[in-house]
Symmetry: D2
């Protein structure tokens, strides 16, 4: 059994990790570290876990675990690792933005298995991708792979309220968000950096604009994204590029069916649909922001790092309706 | 034109009052007092008012207005009136709980028009009823009027998230409340006092238990309540009691149609349906918690105090769907 | 009082018309025609109207009314008018698509007041615009007015479930739509025709592509649209063009505040926000699909045709939350 | 591997069964019978299953399977079994109401494991309980076990839209149900029969009234129920009765934490909370109507019938938010 620890245990991504790891056949959840809730049962915060586990939050870190997941606010992972030393054998999966940009300052691998599976299998340090970045990158990566991203890409995506985290704010108040819809951070969302880095990894000369309008939807979880760009080939050519690129993907599938968000909610899947209109290729992409967009992908990365079946513990029942 | 002021202008009930008073043909909104937002346009907080008004929040109180509405947190109205003196002609409508219980310490009239219309017409000081209290009291008051409340009453009611106010809390976070449901303050809700006082006003010997389970619903506005108790007569007798009691009511109607919450959302109405099962009379009651349950009823009381048509400014279009 | 009739009284747009007209100070609702519900009180279908009116649906048409609103399915208005003859004085507002395209076959005026106010004032026959068409056209019309629509426009918009009408379908089933999101009719929505016609009316040489992705949102009412295109000037220039164009508009307002859908729900307003990113101008537009996008705009057109204040009966209280 | 078949494969409960059985380590999903969709991949209806399985609906029944689940409309199971003969070894789990009432006409065991575990283990025919019946019976069964149900019980429960099935109706239209709430079938819900039968099984002299008001909530899945009745003992005594009764239950847990619906959504659990007010014991009960209230309990019964771990395949990740 792989001994696993979680740092920052009270938030949404930690909750999802705990839910997955409690049922993972090769993992023992060694500790859940929380400075705010030490001594409390984890079901006092993640209240669906009543009856499932008696584990308590702790403020002691076991530095000898084999894998640790960092579920800290952006900026805090770097700080935490500067102040805490794990054993040489401890692999780290960081869910924050802190190490997603390649740099000479660190050795973290960007944990998008569809892009970096071989490197992930050999890695000890993983920077887990952002949720919007996952949905969008998967939608257009096969074009970059074939050096076909030459024109602007137009992206519109909507995320659920869990995307904003557990903190309370005006736009996460139920009375505000219920039956509401709004765009935010248009053209300036921070995930554009990750997306650009991944595209350039496969198409070094990529420099066309990525126009991205994110939106706040009145649902709890999931990301629905549409992306379109000029594409000279016909629809079958596009489908072939995508099918080839994702032929070994464990959770990313191409379909001709109409897509909607709830097809993937509470699963680790990404579904993609391709359509052609005039000279434009439209790709629709749906994921669960907390699973394929966060904790599910983190476990997928863990599975790869430890040589396990990539899908182990991740055959999750969709809630669907 | 009646010059009107609002104290505590940033919350939900103040917002609803502003929306109503801006379109009220006999009212001029003289000032909206807010210690937190002085100088800002009111549309910066009540953001649907863009294009409707350029009024700004003020931290100056005009003590010469003819009517002032207190939209303060419970406990703060008493404090505010101790520290601020209005002119002799200023009528006051207080939306907090502070003066709802009769007492030798104050002269506020409990502002439920179906119960106290004549007193309201002559009043200068109104204690506006609570939202649950309005929905529930209207459901059973005709029984008390006829001294028929001799057995326990069993009440279950559900309220929207606006019932909890603008403050942020765990149970008003969208991710928590979306698609959720929960009971709270069972048997101990503070509105039981108001309800009991109103029942005793019409049936002095009333002392049977009122069992009340309030619930948090995953919608923004409205209250749906069911109440049942033993009733010896048949359904037609019950309907006659209710029809007689509400024959002059401006906004409370008895119907044989099935009821659902959205029939009254964004209106000042209360709809009641009566059914008989065995020896039990079941009454279903629906209101908008922010209108008939707060700001709409406050304006209804103002209309009565100033000798205006009770419905003036309150013929509101339901949003319905 | 203007005697008014409604044809096709059981649907959403008829319901909204009835709600507005019952409170309109210059209108008497003469009849509501319905082949499916004759003899039933209208509150048996539009169930929020209990207590407001005792009017019944009728299968008799009074051909002498001064104005009639056609709330029929697309294709049925033309058929209905071929089979039914109104008096010479009867003005007609058609809410279907049947007469929105200019043609030598009919004399209907496209009823977008921001575009055709003078013609509407003199008209007897109005083709009321579509909901998406209204939100989108208002977002970009000032650019066409100044011949600045030279490059592609990229539009993404989301509509509520009422946009699909009262008919039951897989995508309007609550279990499907709740907490869901999906794109549909991408690049091929039928409203593109109306939009193109309005743009060409102001910018005859317009022939750049309008890329439009409509989406189904999990809310009941409202449209939120974003549109962007290349714009050489700076933000202030853009704002001036829009302010000039809409200076006499009764319900369309430019704002620097952040926008969200519920600012306009249950009102007849359109709110627009302009932002500049790089060489792109982004316009956000929000309307209520059933009011400014249908029945509210129909009454606005009626007001103009009868020489009334354009806003009469349309100062509606937003539901907002 | 247990070969399993499903009859009536297009509805919600079949969908949930398929999701569970595809991941069940001891089951092979042999066939999914559907007269309406033969030849189509099951992911064309249960659209979250894209990428998970290529199984197609069939109109051929394999009568040699070891277990078959009947997901037919009420009344149709009896008819189906009269017309179709399975092998002697085939165990049957019927999810309809057809065999829930004990009768000399059939040998079905009522499949509530907390009540009938030993009989289920030996059974070949299971009548799977109704959703409301499960939530409510589990809330009060320990009282019947101790012959303490002597006074009226007052129950109020709310169910999600999936409780009404996939069929389209006015009350499952999104525009109607969104942000709405309504009571229905008050005092007359058909599940009262099942509940009464289970109570009498443990307390033969039980004849006090069960007052039950069911409600339609504006969420997709889950049941939240409150039940109260007179109870002479103190809270600790009540807790002890419940703890004793459920000590061996695999999915039913007593807790002192506040309860809300989403703690159990997408799980097979039932959570119960006990409170005492005056002389009344209040029990809150939450389940997922499609899992513990239908398909999850069906698999739990299958596990028991085949001597498997009761929880096999049912350690489901809650969606929670």
């Amino acid at each position: 059994m792989i001994e696993a620890g979680i740092i920052g245990g009270a938030g949404y991504t930690a909750g999802e990790l705990i839910r997955i790891l409690l049922n993972h056949p090769e993992v023992n959840l060694n500790f859940v570290f929380s400075t705010s809730q030490p001594g409390k049962p984890i079901y006092s915060i993640h209240q669906d876990l009543i009856g499932d586990t008696e584990i308590k939050f702790t403020d002691k870190i076991n530095t000898e675990v084999e894998v640790v997941f960092l579920c800290l606010g952006h900026g805090n992972s770097k700080k935490f690792l500067a102040e805490n030393q794990f054993s040489a054998k401890t692999k780290i999966v960081d869910l924050s933005t802190d190490f997603r940009q390649k740099s000479d300052d660190h050795k973290f691998i960007y944990g998008l298995p569809e892009l970096n599976k071989k490197d992930i299998e050999k890695a000890d340090l993983i920077a887990n991708p952002g949720c919007f970045a996952t949905a969008i990158t998967l939608a257009i990566l096969p074009l970059a792979k074939n050096a076909l991203l030459k024109d602007e890409v137009h992206i519109n995506a909507v995320t659920g309220a869990t995307g904003a985290g557990t903190s309370l704010s005006g736009t996460t108040h139920f009375s505000w968000r219920d039956n509401n819809f709004s765009a935010y951070k248009s053209f300036e969302h921070q995930h554009l950096n990750e997306i650009g880095q991944s595209l350039k990894q496969l198409q070094a000369d990529h420099d066309a604009e990525i126009n991205f309008i994110p939106n706040r939807g009145n649902f709890s979880r999931g990301i629905h994204a549409t992306a379109y760009t000029k594409f000279e080939g016909d629809l079958d050519e596009a489908k072939k590029l995508y099918a080839d690129f994702y032929q070994d993907a464990a959770f990313t599938f191409i379909t001709d069916e109409e897509l909607h968000l709830k097809q993937v909610v509470n699963t680790n899947k990404c579904l993609l649909r391709l359509q052609k209109f005039g000279n434009k290729l439209l790709i629709t992409s749906v994921i669960d922001n907390l699973l394929k967009g966060a904790s599910g992908q983190a476990v997928q990365n863990m599975n790869l790092m430890f040589g396990l079946d990539e899908k182990l513990g991740l055959n999750l029942k969709a809630s669907y309706f």
